[in-house]
Symmetry: C2
Subunit: 479 residues, 2 copies
């Protein structure tokens, strides 16, 4: 698998990405065009993402459930913006059990409609509110240009759907969930993100407000990494989600939805990876440490493996995720490359001399060559490894933040802006007109990513039309 | 929700079940006929099932992955028995992205075919074997007569798919996974099961051998609770899953598959439930203990809630899953009924007198009335509660086993047999002929459930044709 070198990341970022996904065995192409198989190593990353987010969801009072994948076609039509946004992307089931169906069904592209239908049955009184439900599932959207993890016909995600008695509560929920995504991105994935509000043209189909976290990939492009929508009363009105308030008056609910998908694995790859392959943030890595034993004779092998196994036991006992590579018939060099491709954050090398001296070599994945290597005594190895993992986690974040800062400009004019969005983000005053937004997109391919919550003090001039502007938006080419 | 009494379990088992599922808020009907919404309380049980099984799968070397839900129609046709078994049940996607598809796709009814396709790419050499992958997902089968959890158009499950170098290894895997299911049923769900081999007519479409665990429900009918299939080389040949063996010879792999679904929640309901509702085995219960505070005045309320919260903290700290019902405006009696409906195994009642005496009332869900109640000192409450939970777990298992034993007969003739399968299981010699099996089914509606591994010593006469028989099978009406 890993014998051949990857294409150079700097020379061809797109090919580098495609090859890395296959060679690190994260995902594979499915027989149906545009579908994806998430292979065990990729899924193990997703499981760690799931565990972390699920903990946060539950800590904030959310529960999980499962709604059906098949939705009556007519449901999609009930919310005006929703039908416009999703109709072109639907997969339609017309036959079941050998017969043509009276009403076609769609495979869910997202679940606002079917969950809205259920909520209208379940919610009667203010006592039933708030209703805070999440589900882990997959959805299907008929995408034409696909790329593993980033854009596929079927993708895996979680979608939270909540109903509230007031607009204020719904807005608080929407912002709370965005905060959870931001904390996750920063603290677990070591990815700096910009939280903010989407412009009207970039909103979810059916939302009054969409918030997102936006991250800069290694090629300077943006990736919308998670979204949280305040749906107002749009779906409540379309699906009759109503409650009797404390005064006995029938009111429409206020609903929200929010999601993070397997796209996020694409972000991890594109933010942290290098020419040798993936680099995983320690908190999400399926294997945080790989131990590679080095020996020539059988006698050496016995001694080295004995020590390696002892070290593994000690690390596992201290709660670390460890793999000991005991494969026969492959050289240590091959193993080094193989685990570097898979992005394991730390490598422990142990040979006969290390056994004799009671130390090991600790090599950091994020720091190539001798700079990343150190001798560490076997006594107290757990503390040393834990410390090194924290250092890698922090270094990955810092490097990504420095890269983003170095590639984010506050251009003085539109010529400057054009140059800025060729290499990264432009953070510019914008008058708020959809017309300027549209023209900027046409002329530069850069879209508004978000209007950050911590906006500028004072006012300026729109980067495009030069009219007065009170808001600054991030603009970038995006995945 | 729980104000009204359930239909009597003994008088109308089927209605009792249907009502219980809705009133305990385990699941609900979806807008598409035959589909199911698993509500948060039902899904929390499923999450506990998932965690337990997933641990066992991983401890035996399996990893999780995700394969696409959309499969080319032609894949299903490649394995002869498979296409016969599944063709009548397929949901077919004919349109995507607004256009008619060149080849129709099916929503997976099970994933042997698409996984077989992937394995043929991934497996090259004996070094790639065994390949041990599981996935947690949902599948669609166009069922006409549906019942929540037991038989729905879409259901949730796990499906394991493994590939091996030899028949022996595949057989060992198939039996190992059945053992994992048996251990789970017995130790986690408190459900006694009979592990055994299916007859040819009851095998999975495409399997050489199917093994199952069979449980007796509260009405004496059988429920196939999990299955494990030795697929021989059938799918390997249909999908060209081949490997170079250690002698450099190209060989077909031997594959297996095995699954347990949300049907199992139906089994838990039907084995343990009573006229008051669900009774959950403590190991799988989302809430193992509910604390109901009892007070009249505000002054009492403050004192009682203070003690109740202290007790909750102590129980949570010792690793128990606890809910404190602080709802206002509902009586303790209402709360008792409500949590009984939901099957919480233990209830702690605490009122002003209990606060003064530093004790609580502990009530067992499985033992109605005074017999299940005891006074327990607040000091050392965690030990008392843990002990009581173990006692409930054991009592549920023993009760189910006694019920099964009391309703399992070894009939002396076919008239006896007819009577036996009206109330439970018949364990009978059978000559092995499909013809006898078919006739028994026609005449009594009882099918062979399985041929247990610990068969009889010696031989007998077929219960139907009276010819010599060397095997005994369990016969029963089944869900």
């Amino acid at each position: 698998m890993s014998e051949l070198k990857l294409p150079s990341r700097s020379a061809d970022f797109s090919e580098w990405y495609n090859e890395l996904v296959i060679r690190a065995e994260l995902a594979d192409y499915a027989p149906v065009r545009g579908c994806m198989i998430v292979r065990p190593y990729g899924w193990a990353i997703w499981e760690n993402i799931q565990q972390s987010l699920d903990r946060s969801f539950k800590a904030t009072g959310h529960v999980n459930a499962a709604f059906p994948m098949l939705i009556p076609r007519s449901f999609i039509d009930r919310e005006k913006s929703h039908v416009e946004g999703f109709s072109p992307e639907l997969a339609v089931v017309t036959h079941g059990g050998g017969e043509e169906l009276e009403e076609p069904l769609v495979v869910r592209p997202t679940s606002e409609t079917i969950i809205g239908h259920a909520y209208s049955k379940w919610i009667q009184s203010y006592r039933d509110l708030p209703l805070l439900i999440n589900q882990w599932n997959s959805v299907v959207r008929w995408e034409l240009r696909t790329k593993l993890f980033l854009r596929t016909l079927e993708f895996f995600w979680q979608e939270g759907h909540t109903a509230h008695a007031t607009l204020e509560e719904a807005e608080t929920e929407t912002r709370q969930m965005l905060d959870i995504y931001r904390d996750f991105a920063v603290n677990e994935a070591a990815i700096p993100v910009i939280p903010g509000r989407k412009t009207a043209s970039e909103r979810f189909a059916g939302a009054d407000q969409t918030y997102s976290i936006e991250a800069m990939m290694g090629d300077g492009k943006a990736l919308q990494s998670a979204t949280s929508h305040n749906l107002g009363q749009n779906f409540a009105k379309a699906f009759e989600i109503r409650f009797l308030d404390q005064n006995g008056v029938l009111q429409y609910c206020w609903t929200t939805s929010w999601g993070l998908s397997t796209r996020f694995i694409g972000a991890i790859i594109m933010v942290h990876g290098d020419d040798q392959g993936l680099i995983l943030p320690p908190r999400l890595a399926p294997h945080q440490v790989v131990i590679v034993p080095i020996y020539k004779s059988d006698e050496e092998r016995i001694k080295v493996l004995e020590a390696a196994r002892r070290i593994r036991s000690e690390l596992v006992a201290s709660g670390l995720r460890v793999v000991l590579d005991e494969r026969e018939g492959t050289s240590p060099g091959f193993k080094f490359n193989d685990w570097e491709m898979r992005g394991v954050p730390l490598r422990i090398e142990i040979g006969p001399k290390d056994v004799a001296k009671e130390n090991v070599v600790l090599a950091r994945r994020d720091t190539p060559g001798k700079g990343g290597k150190s001798f560490v005594p076997q006594a107290g190895i757990s503390e040393a490894v834990s410390g090194a993992l924290e250092a890698v986690q922090k270094a990955l974040y810092d490097r990504a933040l420095n890269f983003r800062n170095a590639n984010t400009a506050d251009p003085k004019d539109f010529e400057d802006f054009r140059a800025a969005v060729e290499k990264g983000f432009a953070y510019s005053f914008w008058c708020g007109s959809p017309e300027c937004e549209r023209r900027i997109k046409e002329e530069t391919k850069a879209t508004t990513r978000c209007i950050p919550f911590d906006g500028p003090d004072g006012v300026g001039e729109c980067i495009y039309c030069r009219k007065p502007a009170s808001e600054k938006a991030y603009f970038a080419k995006a995945y």
